[in-house]
Amino acid sequence: MKLERAPMRSEKLPAASEWTFEAIDQYHTEIARVATNFGLDTYPNQIEIITAEQMMDAYASVGMPVNYHHWSFGKQFLSTEKGYRRGQMGLAYEIVINSNPCIAYLMEENTLTMQALVIAHAAYGHNSFFKGNYLFQTWTNADAIVDYLLFARNYIAECEQRYGEEDVELLLDSCHALMNLGVDRYKRPPKLSLAKEQLRQTERAEYLQSQVNQLWRTLPLQDAKPGTTPERRFPLEQEENLLYFVEKHAPLLEPWQREVVRIVRKIAQYFFPQRQTQVMNEGWACFWHYTLINQLYDEDLLSDSFMLEFLQSHTNVVYQPAYHERWYNGINPYALGYAMWQDIRRICEDPTDEDRAWFPDIAGSDWRETFDFAMRNFKDESFVAQYLSPKVMRDFRLFAILDDEHEAKLKVSAIHDDSGYQRVREILSEQYNLGSREPNIQVWNVDLRGDRSLTLRHQQYHKRPLGTSTDEVMKHMARLWGFTVRLETAQDDGTVELLQESRIEKRRAHN
């Protein structure tokens, strides 16, 4: 595709550091034009100017424009506020919401340069990623999310009025504790729609309750002789989505409680893709703000002072400290992602022999087609496994450390050399695999005929034990389930041991 040159103009875009609505509009028009020329496909944009306090509000409600009330959001707000007021922490320049239209927040304190950067980064970078990437397409529903959040907030507010704030809060606490295990990883959930949600809510509540009753029907089984019928597990297959299982099968929950569980589950599902595409998504947005702004500069629309400020911010964002530096905090996803996207473009446009050997498919190809394909069809784990090139590994000087608790010393298992590239890439890819980052805990069995206790099974990964907060989480699980909950650990060799048991002795009285 051939880029359309903008008609040459002697007039530059405004260069003052104070922004005005006109100036933002001018910048946006130019950035939109360039982005279209590059073939970025986006949701329509909605750019909102907000204050620092509103930005902190947005932080507190996990970036969403509306959310239900919960103390943990208050805690988040307080700590953000403290950090900001003391100057320990700058606020993010932008928050962008995966919705249609795509809402991007610009903070009023930003300079005009920063606003332009943010527009390029969020309104075109992230926005196009939200629209294109398969995970977002599969798991989230940009058209309905804001409506759904509104529904959720109203519903929970209504529950608070009806059943008391405290009960709702305790329930939400428990759901939040299990939020990360409240997502479907492999199934496509049905689309959300506000109208349908409301329409079906009552219906569903009744239906669910009747299902549960069916499950727990305890007619005496006269002819059941102990030992003759083989013990059948329920569920027949392990269930990875703990919150889903609770919603559908927890015996004692009231219909409204099931609905709250469902709300938390749906929101967790909405954020699921973001947790898996950080490197790709941030890298993509950084690549595009850099590319779009530079394009404008090449067209002679931007002043030098603008570019200097822009480059300074850009460099800060994509900086990767080395492991021994004080501010090292793991691999910076912005830095890695940006470097990888730039590198893919380089491989396409100017491949070396090494690139041809490693990436025969894309070396020398049209970079924008390659980009489009990569953006649409990968997540961090597979993106790194597919596209991390030896050059980037060398640039970052990546190396792997093996830490086995049974060994006295740590071992450098691979570095950025010919024999290590594959291994480093593999390990880094694994590092972004949610399945190994978080413990694998699934519903194993419910003792249907006995005490109705629920057994969870933790499949150990690389002999890693569970963390210290496990007991707390189990209490939450027991609160939701209403009966005793056990946690077993299955080791790599197949042995299973009981790790933890949260007993609930007193059965809640039925209403």
Binding site: G74, F77, E81, E405, K409, L410, V412, R437, G467
Partner: protein
């Protein structure tokens, strides 16, 4: 189609509800922190919020996570010295260079969670501790003191208040208003008279008639009074309630050996509360700290709360000192005097009747209010019995035995009954 929306004036304080939820949830911890904070602040320092810190573990949100141990193989950046197969000593626990997955479990989590309480939130918790009724929290007492001030003029009043200038001006106006039509007619008649006299001579009938009429007019003009009661204007003075702007508050505390830190902390709250109420009413408040064991001494706040003495107790020494200070510095009339005394009730037996005398005759008559609290779990002591005799005689005296801060408020109830209408 792109929209740029200015949201800056939209709903602010979106997180206010979440913040309240947070405060409610961690009330216990926050109260404890506030209690510590009170210990460290001056009793006058009630206009600021407070930085509160809560142990982070109390408000953690648990998740299933990997713990330490097992096998970890992780990627780091910036290799400057390692080759494949190198063996490295384990870095000390919590040191840098750890992968984020592991560090987050242990490393940062230990810090306290610090946040800022606003003044309102701080006071709310402070009041909660003291079991203050809601009405009192919002509607605070105002001592009314009247001041007369000019308010224009009235048409009646006492002769002493006649405003001469105003009255004369009124009279002049009235005379002009009533007299000028007659004067004009008079001048007219006189002109006519001159004309007739010139034409027909002095004694024609018309001239005589005119002269009679002129004479009648003169009479009427002269009949207009110079000052009528109707003209009188009096200076008007009205009484307006005026908040008295200065007060002095005496904090009297027993610091003998039997007053331990906890009792002092309770006493401190009592003083703080009084200060707070006075603060709502007066612009300027002096605080005098008097501590005593067998002898009394005026000290600064720091010494008042934090130094410890031992020995016996002679309460009257403090009351005498308070009386002297009042006479020296706070002569009655210019200052509203408040007294607050805290003690564990121990007193030298023969001294208590003296206290009764000094307080009853030399202090209470000059005080707006005097409150005594006895911080003791035990039986009332002799000082208590002596003071009890004062209750019936003086409405501005209150006393209360307390064991914990929540008991303090009844002491103030009297005060509010009097001034909250």
């Amino acid at each position: 189609m792109t929209r740029i929306i200015d949201r800056r004036f939209d709903s602010k304080k979106k997180s206010a509800v979440n913040r309240q939820r947070f405060m409610r949830r961690f009330k216990q911890q926050i109260r404890r922190a506030v209690s510590d904070a009170i210990h460290n602040r001056s009793i006058r320092d009630l206009d600021n919020g407070e930085h509160i810190s809560i142990p982070a573990k109390d408000l953690s949100e648990p998740h299933f996570q990997h713990g330490r141990g097992g096998v970890w193989e992780q990627i780091f950046s910036g290799n400057d010295q390692f080759a494949s197969g190198d063996l490295i000593n384990r870095p000390p626990t919590g040191g840098g260079g750890r992968g984020q997955g592991k560090a987050s479990n242990q490393g940062e989590g230990e810090d306290d969670f610090v946040f800022h309480l606003s003044r309102e939130e701080f006071l709310d918790i402070f009041f909660d501790d003291l079991a203050l009724p809601n009405l009192v929290r919002t509607q605070l007492a105002r001592v009314t003191d009247y001041k007369t001030q000019r308010a224009g003029f009235t048409s009646d009043g006492s002769p002493a208040n006649i405003n001469i200038v105003r009255s004369m001006r009124g009279a002049l106006g009235r005379r002009l208003a009533l007299g000028s039509p007659l004067g004009a007619r008079l001048r007219e008649l006189q002109q006519e008279l001159e004309r007739i006299v010139e034409a027909s001579g002095e004694d024609c009938d018309e001239a005589v008639e005119l002269r009679e009429e002129i004479a009648r007019l003169r009479l009427r003009i002269e009949a207009i009074p110079f000052v009528d009661s109707f003209d009188l204007r009096f200076n008007n003075r009205i009484k307006v309630p005026r908040p008295t702007t200065q007060a002095v508050m005496f904090c009297v505390m027993d610091v003998s050996g039997s007053m331990d830190e906890e009792k002092k902390a309770t006493a401190k709250r009592f003083f703080m509360l009084l200060y707070l109420f006075l603060n709502r009413t007066y612009e300027h408040i002096d605080v005098v700290f008097i501590r005593h064991h067998t002898v009394a001494k005026e000290v600064d706040e720091e010494e008042f709360f934090h130094s410890r003495e031992s020995g016996g107790t002679v309460v009257s020494s403090a009351l005498n000192l308070m009386r002297d200070v009042i006479q020296d510095r706070y002569a009655h009339g210019n200052w509203n005097i408040y007294g607050a005394q805290a003690s564990d009730g121990d007193n030298w037996d023969n001294d208590s009747p003296i206290c009764h005398d000094v307080l009853g005759s030399r202090i209470l008559p000059f005080c707006q209010y005097f409150a005594y609290i006895e911080i003791t779990p035990g039986e009332p002591q002799n000082l208590w019995r002596e003071y009890q005799k004062l209750i019936g005689m003086h409405s501005n005296f209150a006393m209360q035995r307390i064991e914990e801060p929540a008991d303090i408020f009844p002491v103030f109830r009297e005060l509010f009954k009097k001034t909250l209408v």
